[in-house]
Amino acid sequence: MNADLVDLLREGLLETLYMVFWSSLFALLIGMVLGITLVVTEKGGLLESPKLSKVIGSIINGVRSLPFIILIVLLLPLSRLIVGTSLGPTAAIVSLSIGAAPFLARIIENSLKEVSAGKMEAAKSVGASPITIIFRVLIPEAMPALVRGVTIGIIGITEFTAVAGAIGAGGLGSLAIRFGYQRFREDVLIATVIIIILLVQVIQWSGDSIVKAIHKKRYKFE
Protein backbone atom coordinates (compact mmCIF):
# COMPACT_ATOMS: atom_id res chain seq x y z
CA MET A 1 0.00 0.00 0.00
CA ASN A 2 1.36 3.40 -0.93
CA ALA A 3 1.59 6.28 1.48
CA ASP A 4 -0.12 8.66 -0.93
CA LEU A 5 -3.21 6.48 -1.14
CA VAL A 6 -4.99 7.95 1.86
CA ASP A 7 -4.41 11.51 0.69
CA LEU A 8 -5.60 10.72 -2.81
CA LEU A 9 -8.71 9.00 -1.55
CA ARG A 10 -9.55 11.73 0.92
CA GLU A 11 -9.27 14.40 -1.72
CA GLY A 12 -11.30 12.32 -4.18
CA LEU A 13 -14.01 11.61 -1.66
CA LEU A 14 -14.32 15.27 -0.65
CA GLU A 15 -14.61 16.32 -4.29
CA THR A 16 -17.23 13.67 -4.92
CA LEU A 17 -19.24 14.68 -1.86
CA TYR A 18 -19.01 18.32 -2.91
CA MET A 19 -20.32 17.49 -6.39
CA VAL A 20 -23.05 15.16 -5.14
CA PHE A 21 -24.29 17.66 -2.56
CA TRP A 22 -24.60 20.70 -4.80
CA SER A 23 -25.74 18.82 -7.89
CA SER A 24 -28.42 17.04 -5.86
CA LEU A 25 -29.58 20.31 -4.38
CA PHE A 26 -29.86 22.11 -7.73
CA ALA A 27 -31.26 19.08 -9.55
CA LEU A 28 -33.82 18.66 -6.79
CA LEU A 29 -34.90 22.31 -7.02
CA ILE A 30 -35.25 22.20 -10.80
CA GLY A 31 -36.77 18.71 -10.71
CA MET A 32 -39.30 19.72 -8.08
CA VAL A 33 -40.47 22.72 -10.10
CA LEU A 34 -40.71 20.64 -13.28
CA GLY A 35 -42.32 17.65 -11.55
CA ILE A 36 -44.97 19.74 -9.81
CA THR A 37 -45.68 21.64 -13.01
CA LEU A 38 -46.11 18.37 -14.89
CA VAL A 39 -48.61 17.07 -12.36
CA VAL A 40 -50.71 20.19 -11.96
CA THR A 41 -50.85 21.03 -15.67
CA GLU A 42 -51.80 17.59 -16.94
CA LYS A 43 -55.35 16.91 -18.06
CA GLY A 44 -57.65 17.00 -15.04
CA GLY A 45 -54.91 18.62 -12.90
CA LEU A 46 -55.23 21.56 -10.52
CA LEU A 47 -54.09 24.09 -13.13
CA GLU A 48 -54.92 22.20 -16.26
CA SER A 49 -52.82 23.27 -19.25
CA PRO A 50 -52.15 20.29 -21.51
CA LYS A 51 -49.97 22.35 -23.88
CA LEU A 52 -47.52 23.41 -21.17
CA SER A 53 -47.49 19.86 -19.83
CA LYS A 54 -46.61 18.55 -23.27
CA VAL A 55 -43.82 21.10 -23.83
CA ILE A 56 -42.18 20.34 -20.48
CA GLY A 57 -42.62 16.61 -21.02
CA SER A 58 -40.90 16.83 -24.40
CA ILE A 59 -37.96 18.84 -23.04
CA ILE A 60 -37.50 16.32 -20.24
CA ASN A 61 -37.60 13.42 -22.68
CA GLY A 62 -35.15 15.22 -24.95
CA VAL A 63 -32.56 15.80 -22.23
CA ARG A 64 -33.04 12.32 -20.83
CA SER A 65 -32.46 10.64 -24.16
CA LEU A 66 -28.94 12.07 -24.43
CA PRO A 67 -26.21 9.85 -22.99
CA PHE A 68 -24.83 11.67 -19.96
CA ILE A 69 -21.27 11.88 -21.22
CA ILE A 70 -22.46 13.66 -24.37
CA LEU A 71 -24.64 16.00 -22.33
CA ILE A 72 -21.57 17.03 -20.32
CA VAL A 73 -19.70 17.87 -23.51
CA LEU A 74 -22.69 19.84 -24.82
CA LEU A 75 -22.93 21.77 -21.57
CA LEU A 76 -19.24 22.67 -21.33
CA PRO A 77 -19.80 26.16 -22.80
CA LEU A 78 -22.57 26.74 -20.27
CA SER A 79 -20.26 25.72 -17.41
CA ARG A 80 -17.66 28.16 -18.71
CA LEU A 81 -20.30 30.87 -18.79
CA ILE A 82 -21.66 30.24 -15.30
CA VAL A 83 -18.58 29.26 -13.25
CA GLY A 84 -15.80 30.49 -15.54
CA THR A 85 -14.23 27.11 -16.25
CA SER A 86 -15.09 23.81 -17.87
CA LEU A 87 -12.77 21.76 -15.67
CA GLY A 88 -12.98 20.57 -12.07
CA PRO A 89 -15.78 19.68 -9.67
CA THR A 90 -17.50 23.08 -9.73
CA ALA A 91 -17.82 23.01 -13.50
CA ALA A 92 -19.22 19.48 -13.30
CA ILE A 93 -21.98 20.64 -10.94
CA VAL A 94 -23.57 22.62 -13.78
CA SER A 95 -23.75 19.59 -16.10
CA LEU A 96 -24.70 17.22 -13.31
CA SER A 97 -27.57 19.42 -12.12
CA ILE A 98 -29.00 19.88 -15.60
CA GLY A 99 -28.42 16.26 -16.51
CA ALA A 100 -30.10 14.89 -13.40
CA ALA A 101 -32.97 17.38 -13.10
CA PRO A 102 -35.21 15.75 -15.77
CA PHE A 103 -34.64 12.36 -14.18
CA LEU A 104 -35.66 13.74 -10.79
CA ALA A 105 -38.61 15.55 -12.39
CA ARG A 106 -40.01 12.23 -13.62
CA ILE A 107 -39.44 10.55 -10.26
CA ILE A 108 -41.13 13.46 -8.46
CA GLU A 109 -43.99 13.44 -10.96
CA ASN A 110 -44.62 9.77 -10.25
CA SER A 111 -44.49 10.27 -6.48
CA LEU A 112 -46.96 13.15 -6.61
CA LYS A 113 -49.35 11.16 -8.78
CA GLU A 114 -49.73 8.66 -5.95
CA VAL A 115 -51.73 11.23 -3.98
CA SER A 116 -55.40 10.41 -4.52
CA ALA A 117 -57.53 12.89 -6.41
CA GLY A 118 -60.06 12.66 -3.57
CA LYS A 119 -57.72 14.30 -1.06
CA MET A 120 -57.22 17.22 -3.41
CA GLU A 121 -60.96 17.44 -3.98
CA ALA A 122 -61.55 17.53 -0.25
CA ALA A 123 -59.11 20.44 -0.03
CA LYS A 124 -60.84 22.13 -2.96
CA SER A 125 -64.19 21.67 -1.25
CA VAL A 126 -63.07 23.74 1.75
CA GLY A 127 -62.02 26.54 -0.60
CA ALA A 128 -58.26 25.98 -0.78
CA SER A 129 -56.38 27.61 -3.67
CA PRO A 130 -54.20 25.56 -6.03
CA ILE A 131 -51.03 26.91 -4.38
CA THR A 132 -52.30 25.94 -0.93
CA ILE A 133 -53.21 22.50 -2.21
CA ILE A 134 -49.75 22.00 -3.74
CA PHE A 135 -47.87 22.95 -0.58
CA ARG A 136 -50.24 21.80 2.14
CA VAL A 137 -51.72 18.67 0.55
CA LEU A 138 -49.87 17.38 -2.51
CA ILE A 139 -46.28 17.56 -1.23
CA PRO A 140 -46.84 16.45 2.40
CA GLU A 141 -49.09 13.57 1.35
CA ALA A 142 -46.51 12.36 -1.19
CA MET A 143 -43.58 12.78 1.21
CA PRO A 144 -42.66 9.11 1.78
CA ALA A 145 -42.73 8.41 -1.97
CA LEU A 146 -40.83 11.64 -2.64
CA VAL A 147 -38.04 10.74 -0.21
CA ARG A 148 -37.79 7.26 -1.68
CA GLY A 149 -37.64 8.67 -5.21
CA VAL A 150 -35.16 11.41 -4.40
CA THR A 151 -32.89 8.80 -2.78
CA ILE A 152 -32.81 6.96 -6.10
CA GLY A 153 -32.06 10.29 -7.79
CA ILE A 154 -29.14 11.12 -5.49
CA ILE A 155 -27.64 7.68 -6.02
CA GLY A 156 -27.99 8.28 -9.75
CA ILE A 157 -26.13 11.56 -9.35
CA THR A 158 -23.37 9.77 -7.42
CA GLU A 159 -22.95 7.44 -10.39
CA PHE A 160 -22.96 10.41 -12.76
CA THR A 161 -20.13 12.11 -10.82
CA ALA A 162 -17.98 9.07 -11.49
CA VAL A 163 -18.75 9.37 -15.20
CA ALA A 164 -18.02 13.08 -15.09
CA GLY A 165 -14.69 12.19 -13.47
CA ALA A 166 -13.64 10.57 -16.73
CA ILE A 167 -13.55 13.95 -18.48
CA GLY A 168 -11.89 16.09 -15.90
CA ALA A 169 -14.44 16.66 -13.15
CA GLY A 170 -12.27 15.28 -10.35
CA GLY A 171 -13.58 13.13 -7.55
CA LEU A 172 -13.42 9.38 -6.99
CA GLY A 173 -14.37 8.57 -10.57
CA SER A 174 -11.47 10.55 -11.92
CA LEU A 175 -9.18 8.89 -9.39
CA ALA A 176 -10.22 5.45 -10.53
CA ILE A 177 -9.62 6.33 -14.18
CA ARG A 178 -6.41 8.36 -13.87
CA PHE A 179 -4.64 6.21 -11.30
CA GLY A 180 -6.37 2.88 -11.30
CA TYR A 181 -6.81 2.48 -15.04
CA GLN A 182 -4.19 4.64 -16.75
CA ARG A 183 -1.35 4.08 -14.25
CA PHE A 184 -2.20 0.51 -13.28
CA ARG A 185 -2.67 1.36 -9.62
CA GLU A 186 -4.93 -1.50 -8.64
CA ASP A 187 -4.97 -0.43 -4.99
CA VAL A 188 -6.50 2.92 -5.98
CA LEU A 189 -9.05 1.27 -8.23
CA ILE A 190 -10.22 -1.16 -5.57
CA ALA A 191 -10.25 1.47 -2.82
CA THR A 192 -12.34 3.92 -4.88
CA VAL A 193 -14.82 1.21 -5.78
CA ILE A 194 -15.21 0.28 -2.12
CA ILE A 195 -15.72 3.90 -1.11
CA ILE A 196 -18.33 4.48 -3.82
CA ILE A 197 -20.18 1.34 -2.76
CA LEU A 198 -20.14 2.50 0.86
CA LEU A 199 -21.27 5.98 -0.15
CA VAL A 200 -24.26 4.59 -2.06
CA GLN A 201 -25.14 2.39 0.92
CA VAL A 202 -25.08 5.37 3.26
CA ILE A 203 -27.33 7.41 0.94
CA GLN A 204 -29.81 4.54 0.59
CA TRP A 205 -29.80 3.90 4.32
CA SER A 206 -30.42 7.60 5.06
CA GLY A 207 -33.36 7.67 2.65
CA ASP A 208 -34.82 4.50 4.15
CA SER A 209 -34.46 5.87 7.66
CA ILE A 210 -36.33 9.06 6.80
CA VAL A 211 -39.16 7.09 5.17
CA LYS A 212 -39.31 4.78 8.17
CA ALA A 213 -39.51 7.75 10.54
CA ILE A 214 -42.40 9.26 8.55
CA HIS A 215 -44.24 5.95 8.52
CA LYS A 216 -43.68 5.44 12.21
CA LYS A 217 -45.16 8.84 12.93
CA ARG A 218 -48.17 8.58 10.61
CA TYR A 219 -49.01 4.91 10.82
CA LYS A 220 -48.09 3.78 14.32
CA PHE A 221 -50.81 2.01 16.24
CA GLU A 222 -51.36 2.57 19.88
Binding site: S116, G118, K119, E121, A122, A123, K124, S125, V126, G127, A128, S129, T132, R136, V137, P140, E141, M143, K217, R218, Y219, K220, F221, E222
Partner: protein, 261 residues
Protein backbone atom coordinates in the same frame (compact mmCIF):
# COMPACT_ATOMS: atom_id res chain seq x y z
CA UNK B 1 -81.67 27.59 0.59
CA UNK B 2 -80.79 25.67 -2.55
CA UNK B 3 -82.43 26.37 -5.87
CA UNK B 4 -81.44 24.43 -8.96
CA UNK B 5 -82.83 25.46 -12.34
CA UNK B 6 -82.49 23.59 -15.66
CA UNK B 7 -79.20 22.00 -14.73
CA UNK B 8 -77.60 19.85 -17.39
CA UNK B 9 -74.28 18.12 -17.58
CA UNK B 10 -72.76 15.61 -19.94
CA UNK B 11 -69.42 13.84 -20.08
CA UNK B 12 -67.42 14.19 -23.23
CA UNK B 13 -66.04 10.98 -24.61
CA UNK B 14 -64.46 10.21 -27.99
CA UNK B 15 -67.68 8.47 -28.98
CA UNK B 16 -69.79 11.55 -28.25
CA UNK B 17 -71.38 13.25 -25.29
CA UNK B 18 -73.00 11.12 -22.62
CA UNK B 19 -75.70 13.03 -20.75
CA UNK B 20 -75.49 12.55 -16.96
CA UNK B 21 -77.85 15.27 -15.74
CA UNK B 22 -80.81 16.42 -17.80
CA UNK B 23 -82.88 19.47 -17.00
CA UNK B 24 -82.72 19.18 -13.22
CA UNK B 25 -85.02 21.43 -11.17
CA UNK B 26 -84.86 21.22 -7.40
CA UNK B 27 -85.70 23.38 -4.39
CA UNK B 28 -84.36 22.60 -0.95
CA UNK B 29 -85.62 24.48 2.11
CA UNK B 30 -83.40 25.94 4.80
CA UNK B 31 -82.93 23.54 7.72
CA UNK B 32 -84.08 20.51 5.75
CA UNK B 33 -82.32 17.18 5.53
CA UNK B 34 -82.83 16.39 1.90
CA UNK B 35 -82.04 12.97 0.44
CA UNK B 36 -81.34 12.25 -3.19
CA UNK B 37 -81.71 8.56 -3.87
CA UNK B 38 -80.99 6.55 -6.97
CA UNK B 39 -79.32 3.42 -8.25
CA UNK B 40 -75.66 3.39 -9.29
CA UNK B 41 -74.95 5.49 -12.36
CA UNK B 42 -78.15 7.51 -12.04
CA UNK B 43 -76.16 10.75 -11.75
CA UNK B 44 -76.66 11.50 -8.07
CA UNK B 45 -72.96 11.90 -7.32
CA UNK B 46 -72.51 14.25 -10.26
CA UNK B 47 -75.50 16.27 -9.10
CA UNK B 48 -74.22 16.84 -5.57
CA UNK B 49 -70.73 17.62 -6.87
CA UNK B 50 -72.20 20.29 -9.12
CA UNK B 51 -73.48 22.10 -6.01
CA UNK B 52 -69.97 23.20 -5.02
CA UNK B 53 -68.72 22.95 -8.57
CA UNK B 54 -66.30 20.11 -8.09
CA UNK B 55 -68.02 19.26 -11.38
CA UNK B 56 -68.75 22.07 -13.77
CA UNK B 57 -72.33 21.97 -15.06
CA UNK B 58 -72.85 22.56 -18.79
CA UNK B 59 -75.84 24.83 -18.32
CA UNK B 60 -78.45 25.88 -15.79
CA UNK B 61 -78.17 27.80 -12.53
CA UNK B 62 -77.54 26.80 -8.95
CA UNK B 63 -78.36 29.26 -6.20
CA UNK B 64 -77.26 28.61 -2.64
CA UNK B 65 -78.26 31.01 0.14
CA UNK B 66 -79.03 33.75 -2.37
CA UNK B 67 -75.70 33.40 -4.16
CA UNK B 68 -75.67 32.15 -7.74
CA UNK B 69 -72.90 29.57 -7.52
CA UNK B 70 -72.82 28.94 -11.25
CA UNK B 71 -71.93 32.61 -11.95
CA UNK B 72 -68.98 32.85 -9.59
CA UNK B 73 -65.43 33.43 -10.78
CA UNK B 74 -62.69 31.16 -9.44
CA UNK B 75 -61.80 33.35 -6.46
CA UNK B 76 -65.39 33.98 -5.36
CA UNK B 77 -66.11 30.30 -5.80
CA UNK B 78 -63.34 29.45 -3.35
CA UNK B 79 -64.90 31.85 -0.86
CA UNK B 80 -68.34 30.34 -1.38
CA UNK B 81 -66.93 26.84 -0.87
CA UNK B 82 -65.73 27.87 2.58
CA UNK B 83 -69.39 27.99 3.56
CA UNK B 84 -70.38 24.70 1.91
CA UNK B 85 -69.11 21.71 3.85
CA UNK B 86 -68.70 18.35 2.16
CA UNK B 87 -68.18 14.81 3.38
CA UNK B 88 -67.15 11.87 1.24
CA UNK B 89 -67.66 8.13 1.05
CA UNK B 90 -63.91 7.51 1.27
CA UNK B 91 -63.41 10.28 3.88
CA UNK B 92 -60.42 11.82 2.04
CA UNK B 93 -58.57 12.83 5.19
CA UNK B 94 -54.98 13.97 4.93
CA UNK B 95 -52.66 11.20 6.16
CA UNK B 96 -49.83 13.65 6.80
CA UNK B 97 -51.89 15.61 9.32
CA UNK B 98 -53.25 14.76 12.75
CA UNK B 99 -56.96 14.89 13.52
CA UNK B 100 -56.45 18.39 14.91
CA UNK B 101 -54.56 19.56 11.80
CA UNK B 102 -57.13 18.01 9.47
CA UNK B 103 -59.95 19.84 11.20
CA UNK B 104 -57.96 23.08 11.45
CA UNK B 105 -57.17 23.08 7.72
CA UNK B 106 -60.37 24.80 6.48
CA UNK B 107 -59.96 27.53 9.10
CA UNK B 108 -56.36 28.13 8.04
CA UNK B 109 -57.51 28.32 4.43
CA UNK B 110 -60.11 30.88 5.48
CA UNK B 111 -57.37 32.89 7.23
CA UNK B 112 -58.64 32.83 10.82
CA UNK B 113 -56.27 33.80 13.66
CA UNK B 114 -54.56 31.00 15.53
CA UNK B 115 -56.29 31.39 18.94
CA UNK B 116 -59.69 31.27 17.27
CA UNK B 117 -58.70 28.18 15.27
CA UNK B 118 -57.53 26.50 18.46
CA UNK B 119 -60.76 27.17 20.29
CA UNK B 120 -63.01 26.32 17.35
CA UNK B 121 -61.26 23.02 16.52
CA UNK B 122 -61.59 21.98 20.19
CA UNK B 123 -65.29 22.74 20.12
CA UNK B 124 -66.02 20.84 16.96
CA UNK B 125 -63.81 17.85 17.79
CA UNK B 126 -65.76 17.56 21.03
CA UNK B 127 -69.04 17.78 19.11
CA UNK B 128 -68.09 14.73 17.05
CA UNK B 129 -66.87 12.99 20.21
CA UNK B 130 -63.22 12.72 19.24
CA UNK B 131 -61.81 14.97 21.97
CA UNK B 132 -59.26 12.34 22.96
CA UNK B 133 -58.02 11.77 19.41
CA UNK B 134 -56.75 15.25 18.53
CA UNK B 135 -53.13 14.19 18.08
CA UNK B 136 -53.85 10.92 16.34
CA UNK B 137 -53.21 10.35 12.64
CA UNK B 138 -56.10 9.19 10.42
CA UNK B 139 -54.53 5.80 9.68
CA UNK B 140 -54.93 4.95 13.37
CA UNK B 141 -58.69 5.55 13.36
CA UNK B 142 -61.60 3.26 12.53
CA UNK B 143 -63.90 4.00 9.60
CA UNK B 144 -66.54 5.59 11.80
CA UNK B 145 -63.97 7.76 13.56
CA UNK B 146 -62.54 8.83 10.20
CA UNK B 147 -65.96 9.93 9.03
CA UNK B 148 -66.39 11.88 12.26
CA UNK B 149 -63.18 13.73 11.45
CA UNK B 150 -64.57 14.29 7.95
CA UNK B 151 -67.72 15.76 9.47
CA UNK B 152 -65.72 17.93 11.86
CA UNK B 153 -63.66 19.24 8.95
CA UNK B 154 -66.83 19.99 6.98
CA UNK B 155 -68.47 21.80 9.91
CA UNK B 156 -65.59 23.68 11.47
CA UNK B 157 -66.00 26.81 9.38
CA UNK B 158 -69.73 27.05 10.23
CA UNK B 159 -71.13 26.28 6.77
CA UNK B 160 -74.68 27.12 5.69
CA UNK B 161 -74.97 23.85 3.81
CA UNK B 162 -73.55 20.38 4.26
CA UNK B 163 -73.17 18.05 1.28
CA UNK B 164 -72.87 14.36 1.95
CA UNK B 165 -71.61 12.21 -0.92
CA UNK B 166 -72.53 8.65 0.17
CA UNK B 167 -70.97 9.39 3.55
CA UNK B 168 -72.10 6.15 5.16
CA UNK B 169 -71.74 3.75 2.24
CA UNK B 170 -68.31 2.53 3.34
CA UNK B 171 -69.41 1.94 6.95
CA UNK B 172 -71.00 -1.02 8.69
CA UNK B 173 -74.68 -0.71 9.73
CA UNK B 174 -73.91 0.03 13.39
CA UNK B 175 -71.48 2.81 12.51
CA UNK B 176 -73.81 4.11 9.81
CA UNK B 177 -76.49 4.48 12.46
CA UNK B 178 -74.21 6.48 14.78
CA UNK B 179 -73.08 8.76 11.94
CA UNK B 180 -76.69 9.37 10.91
CA UNK B 181 -77.59 10.20 14.51
CA UNK B 182 -74.73 12.67 14.55
CA UNK B 183 -75.94 14.32 11.32
CA UNK B 184 -79.45 14.58 12.78
CA UNK B 185 -78.09 16.09 15.96
CA UNK B 186 -76.05 18.63 14.00
CA UNK B 187 -79.05 19.53 11.89
CA UNK B 188 -81.07 20.13 15.02
CA UNK B 189 -78.40 21.98 17.03
CA UNK B 190 -76.96 24.15 14.28
CA UNK B 191 -80.07 24.45 12.06
CA UNK B 192 -77.84 23.29 9.25
CA UNK B 193 -79.27 22.35 5.86
CA UNK B 194 -78.02 18.94 4.75
CA UNK B 195 -78.18 17.48 1.25
CA UNK B 196 -77.19 13.86 1.07
CA UNK B 197 -77.11 11.33 -1.69
CA UNK B 198 -77.46 7.66 -1.00
CA UNK B 199 -78.52 4.34 -2.41
CA UNK B 200 -79.47 3.07 1.04
CA UNK B 201 -83.15 3.15 2.01
CA UNK B 202 -82.17 3.08 5.69
CA UNK B 203 -80.40 6.38 5.35
CA UNK B 204 -83.35 8.00 3.63
CA UNK B 205 -85.81 6.65 6.15
CA UNK B 206 -83.67 7.41 9.18
CA UNK B 207 -82.64 11.03 8.68
CA UNK B 208 -84.31 12.66 5.69
CA UNK B 209 -87.43 14.81 5.71
CA UNK B 210 -87.72 15.30 1.97
CA UNK B 211 -86.31 13.49 -0.97
CA UNK B 212 -85.83 13.38 -4.70
CA UNK B 213 -85.46 10.28 -6.81
CA UNK B 214 -82.99 10.44 -9.66
CA UNK B 215 -83.16 8.07 -12.60
CA UNK B 216 -80.98 8.23 -15.73
CA UNK B 217 -79.97 11.79 -14.98
CA UNK B 218 -83.48 13.08 -14.41
CA UNK B 219 -85.40 13.88 -11.24
CA UNK B 220 -88.43 11.61 -11.52
CA UNK B 221 -90.03 12.16 -8.14
CA UNK B 222 -89.82 14.63 -5.27
CA UNK B 223 -91.68 15.05 -2.00
CA UNK B 224 -91.62 13.88 1.59
CA UNK B 225 -89.91 10.68 2.58
CA UNK B 226 -93.26 9.39 3.84
CA UNK B 227 -94.72 9.75 0.38
CA UNK B 228 -91.78 7.85 -1.08
CA UNK B 229 -92.55 4.85 1.08
CA UNK B 230 -96.36 5.09 1.03
CA UNK B 231 -97.04 6.14 -2.55
CA UNK B 232 -93.97 5.53 -4.67
CA UNK B 233 -94.55 6.86 -8.18
CA UNK B 234 -91.36 6.49 -10.12
CA UNK B 235 -89.92 3.23 -11.33
CA UNK B 236 -86.85 3.58 -9.11
CA UNK B 237 -88.91 4.35 -6.00
CA UNK B 238 -91.17 1.38 -6.69
CA UNK B 239 -88.22 -0.91 -7.11
CA UNK B 240 -86.71 0.29 -3.84
CA UNK B 241 -89.97 -0.01 -1.93
CA UNK B 242 -90.72 -3.34 -3.57
CA UNK B 243 -87.67 -4.81 -1.86
CA UNK B 244 -89.11 -3.87 1.54
CA UNK B 245 -92.57 -5.13 0.63
CA UNK B 246 -91.14 -8.41 -0.56
CA UNK B 247 -89.56 -9.12 2.78
CA UNK B 248 -92.56 -7.86 4.74
CA UNK B 249 -94.83 -10.22 2.82
CA UNK B 250 -92.39 -13.05 3.22
CA UNK B 251 -92.27 -12.45 6.97
CA UNK B 252 -96.04 -12.35 7.13
CA UNK B 253 -96.25 -15.69 5.38
CA UNK B 254 -93.63 -17.20 7.66
CA UNK B 255 -95.22 -15.82 10.80
CA UNK B 256 -98.67 -16.65 9.60
CA UNK B 257 -100.09 -13.15 9.58
CA UNK B 258 -102.96 -12.86 7.12
CA UNK B 259 -103.67 -16.56 7.19
CA UNK B 260 -106.10 -15.86 9.98
CA UNK B 261 -104.35 -18.01 12.52
Amino acid sequence: MVNIQSLTKSYKTPKGDIPVLQDIHLQIEKGDIFGIIGFSGAGKSTLIRCLNRLEEPDSGTIEIGGRVITDLAEKELRQARQKIGMIFQQFHLLDAKTVYQNVAFPLEVAGHPRPYIHQRVREIVDLVQLGDKENTYPSQLSGGQKQRVGIARALVNSPDLLLSDEATSALDPQTTYSILELLKEINRQLKLTIVLITHELDVLQHVCNNMAVIENGRIVETGSVEKFFLHPESDTAKRFVHIIDYYRDKRHVMEGVGAGI
